[in-house]
């Protein structure tokens, strides 16, 4: 590390150290709190086991989890991600004693609760580490204060000077020496004090992070939910296709056959009637074709099959009455089910923008960053989009969830609306063009 680099980094590091100082003090205060919480929780767990305490345990647990979550956030600040491992709260609880007991059961059967408890106990000691940056800084300030002249009254009062860094400060030169030591200590503090927080963050992750088992439980739960969602969606889609074929194209072809039968009878005898029937037959066949075409478009849009995602999104932009700017940066091939999900999502979002937002200009951005496929649809409309109101956004979110994808909505009243979709995906290499 060259000195010039060090100087350039100094302000950022100073800010970081300052922030960590505050967080460290908070963590240490939390450590004091954690002793109390440990004792209270243990007390109510025992009370619950001997029959009472069902009411207080959930409340105390809420406090405990709050403290633990605060420490998880502090760990995230130090660059150590600690996901929240708790099992989801069962939805409906009775308001009576049975409900309270079920609540306690949910808490006590969650291994994370017990790990929290252990963390509380250990943190009451380990958390004190958070004070260290403050202590060191205090020592630095003391050294500077001594050097600034504080050593004189102390020397006068005590006879011997105050010792700083093993140097008794009894004269101006020794005071300057002390100040230099303080300055060196300060620089070291700026550079190395975040280490304490990082150490604490690792300790927090050890106990508060999800275990392999709980990670798997959460994952299995998510997969079960999204799988049933995907199956529902697929079944509904098949029913829709069946109904559309049955009521649409199939019926048209039957009527076409009947018209042709009638035509056969009239052929030769009644040429005007035959001509009319012929016209009917042609209209029927055209309608059947149109319905089949729409159906195909709904299952798998031809443009997607023919030109891939980038051009299909561009075509969506072209076909929209809004001014749509489409930018696509995807170097490779997206797996077909994902491609299709994203296409329909963007198509629906463009329709939404047209129908509800009063927008004029829409930007569609899709890119891949090596691990995730991102797609943003941003309009300049009046905002207020809400996934909980309509079924459209919720439907897209559910469809993306099948691929572990997410949908974020930012749509303040007055606009603009920005919808961000992210799907983890690996690209296969680009198909070589046939032309």
């Amino acid at each position: 590390m060259s000195i010039r680099n060090g100087l350039r980094e100094f302000p950022a590091r100073l800010r970081r150290a300052g922030g960590d100082l505050v967080v460290g003090v908070l963590i240490a205060l939390g450590a004091m709190l954690s002793v109390c919480l440990f004792l209270i929780t243990a007390y109510f767990v025992i009370l619950f086991v001997i029959g009472i305490g069902a009411v207080m345990l959930p409340i105390v647990t809420k406090w405990v989890r709050w403290l633990c979550n605060a420490n998880r956030r502090a760990a995230a600040r130090a660059g150590v991600q600690v996901p929240v491992p708790y099992r989801p709260e069962p939805k409906e609880f009775e308001k009576d004693i049975v409900g309270w007991i079920r609540r306690c059961k949910w808490i006590l059967t969650d291994p994370a609760s017990w790990r929290d408890l252990l963390w509380l106990l250990l943190n009451s000691v380990v958390g004190m580490i958070g004070f260290l940056p403050a202590v060191v800084l205090y020592y630095v300030l003391e050294g500077l204060a001594l050097a600034c002249g504080l050593w004189r009254p102390i020397l006068r009062a005590q006879g011997t000077g105050r010792e700083y860094f093993f140097v008794p400060i009894q004269s101006q030169p020794t005071a300057v020496l002390g100040a230099l030591a303080a300055a060196a200590l300060f620089v070291a503090w700026v550079w190395y004090s975040p280490v304490f927080l990082t150490a604490h963050a690792h300790f927090t992750r050890l106990l508060l992070g999800p275990t392999k088992g709980s990670q798997l439980t959460v994952r299995v739960q998510h997969l079960a939910e999204t799988r049933s969602g995907a199956l529902d969606a697929a079944a509904a889609e098949l029913r829709r296709i069946e109904r559309d074929l049955h009521d649409g194209a199939q019926a048209r072809l039957v009527s076409l056959g009947m018209t042709l039968g009638a035509l056969e009878r009239h052929l030769g005898s009644d040429s005007t009637e035959a001509r009319r029937l012929l016209l009917d037959a042609r209209t029927s066949s055209v309608s059947a074709l149109r319905e089949l075409r729409d159906l195909v478009r709904g299952i798998h849009p031809p443009i997607l099959a023919e030109r891939g995602l980038a051009d299909a999104l561009r075509a969506l932009g072209l076909a929209s009455p809004l001014q749509v700017e489409v930018t696509v940066g995807i170097a490779g091939e997206v797996p077909p089910p994902l491609e299709s999900a994203l296409y329909f999502a963007v198509s629906e979002l463009l329709t939404n923008a047209l129908k509800y937002s009063d927008a004029e200009h829409v930007e569609v951005n899709a890119w891949h960053d090596g691990a995730m496929l991102h797609a943003w649809v941003v309009d300049d409309g009046r905002g207020g989009a809400d996934a909980t109101k309509g079924t459209g956004l919720h439907g897209i979110r559910r469809r993306l969830a099948t691929f572990d994808g997410t949908l974020d909505i930012s749509s303040p009243l007055g606009g603009p609306t920005a919808i961000k979709m992210e799907i983890p995906c690996v690209l296969s290499s680009l198909k070589t063009s046939s032309s």
Partner: protein, 214 residues
């Protein structure tokens, strides 16, 4: 008139050959893939290419690509593209060189034999034939655009028919106006879209392009 036909579905290919035969066209080659199409076009130098967008082996836009390549090799070669669905993007690509002799129709259009044959003749003569579905899609998506905004409703209607490839007479018939009125509207459109009177370039094609590229 000599036609080269590229269509991979056997039934449709045979049907088209029969239809063309019935109207006195000569199908000099009927192929079912892109490379053969290029070869046939180079060998026979037909008066028009009739091409399906989707051809083997990729079943993507093989036909469209082959047709565009044939046109690069034989400039002004008239092309009529048939498709199961219409995409504005394809219409743009086909019309990009602005020289006319381009048609882009839904496959259903063969149901109306007369109009289909008429479209072939128009394209072979250097005009355009756009499916009404393409044109209406274009009109919707460019309704807010500037140059088109200056047009009156009637002029828009005329432009739509012009884009489909109708002649002045046909436009007059379809809109129940006199041919003189149709001609007047058309010249107004040319002025509003700022298309200079230039005998060489096909102003009708340029007018269509003006809003394709708006």
């Amino acid at each position: 008139m000599r036609v080269v036909l590229a269509e991979d579905l056997f039934l449709l290919r045979q049907g088209l050959i029969q239809l063309l035969d019935a109207y006195g066209f000569e199908t000099v080659a009927a192929v079912d893939n892109g490379p053969d199409l290029l070869e046939a076009a180079a060998r026979h130098r037909p008066d028009i290419l009739i091409v399906d967008v989707r051809l083997p082996p990729t079943f993507t836009t093989e036909g469209l690509k082959a047709a565009l390549q044939a046109r690069r090799e034989i400039p002004k070669l008239p092309i009529l593209v048939l498709s199961q669905h219409v995409e504005q993007m394809y219409a743009r690509e086909l019309l990009a060189d602005g020289t006319g002799g381009i048609g882009y129709l839904l496959k259903d259009s063969v149901f109306d034999n007369e109009q289909f044959i008429d479209a072939i003749r128009r394209v072979a003569a250097g005009g355009t034939a756009m499916d009404p579905a393409v044109v209406s899609q274009l009109m919707v998506s460019h309704a807010r655009d500037e140059p088109l905004g200056a047009l009156t409703a009637r002029e828009r209607g005329v432009l739509e028919l012009m884009a489909e490839g109708c002649s002045n007479t046909a436009i007059a018939q379809r809109l129940f106006i006199t041919e003189g009125a149709a001609a007047k509207h058309i010249s107004n459109i040319f002025v509003k879209l700022m298309l200079p009177p230039d005998s060489d370039s096909n102003r009708r094609v340029l007018a269509v392009l003006a809003y394709l590229n708006a």
